[in-house]
Assembly symmetry: C2
């Protein structure tokens, strides 16, 4: 395995996530929006809220900290459950629209920095992981999106776990992550 | 866990898959379209071909066999690699368009049958699973779509497996399915 990071590709794919969520989740019945894998796992509704939290408190805020090149470029800890209280009473449609606006603004910010390879190597301090590079933060942003897209598809699929009858053995998506995980 | 199958929901969600694939894969650079998990695993390009194979040889053809109520409603075996030879030289864009047309026609066919609960209980014979009900076949169709959406997201994410640096431990999508699987 080798490194593959490409800033242009990363921005291009990050830009598509709101439209992918609109296609996958638009007009979905409420039971499908709110289904989850139990315990503290995320429903599709929770995932969109969690992605909004990332736009507001994680990716670009942490990139700013790194790019400020201060003496101690430490990130604030990230709250995985911030969305729970934040989005009570919100519709998924309004959250999807909000996510699309935040993502577009953040990618415009990222592009405006015109990051060189040298600046992509600048470092910050993660509260538990220690020293990390800006390019690792940006690669993680994209992988995080894709992981949560996979999660939404998996969580939706599991609604029909009993309904597929004997096909369950051919459908690993139904048995992935047996232990609930957000 | 209880059964949740709803024909209207199933059709509605199946109808959205082509648009989701268009959003996720449209204009994606070739390296992202052709990336896979090794061995006989599927790339995003392969997955779209495999979904086309399902439209042409699996879901509706098998539903027709069940609904014909013949003395021996046996399904033909399904070829998971039919798409490999079929789609040499094709562009992903043309495959996505073809999948959208096939899916729309198949859902129109499904709706035209106006299936009652009694007919959803009709049975066919799967080559390895034995007796299966029409409602199980239709639930499997949807779960199969969602499983392959999750797969596309996971396969894309793994392109950046080395690039995320120390974040790998927080990104289970990068370590799911370590053993390649199509």
């Amino acid at each position: 395995m080798t490194t593959q990071f490409d800033l242009t590709d990363t921005i291009r794919i990050l830009a598509r996530t709101p439209a992918t969520l609109d296609a996958l989740l638009g007009d979905l019945p409420e039971e499908w929006i709110r289904t989850d894998e139990g315990a503290d796992s995320f429903s599709p509704f929770d995932v969109v809220g969690h992605l909004i939290d990332g736009e507001e408190t994680d990716w670009i805020p942490r990139a700013r900290i790194i790019l400020a090149e201060g003496p101690e470029a430490s990130f604030a800890p990230y709250d995985r459950f911030r969305h729970r209280a934040r989005n009570v009473g919100r519709s998924l449609e309004s959250l999807r629209a909000e996510f699309g606006r935040l993502r577009a603004a953040n990618l415009a910010q990222l592009e405006s920095w015109q990051l060189t390879d040298a600046r992509l190597d600048l470092r910050g301090i993660h509260p538990t992981l220690g020293t990390v590079a800006l390019r690792e933060l940006l690669a993680t942003w994209l992988v995080h999106d894709l992981g949560h897209l996979a999660q939404i598809a998996r969580v939706m699929a599991k609604r029909y776990r009993e309904d597929v009858g004997p096909w369950v053995g051919f459908l690993p998506v139904l048995t992935d992550h047996e232990r609930p995980r957000s």
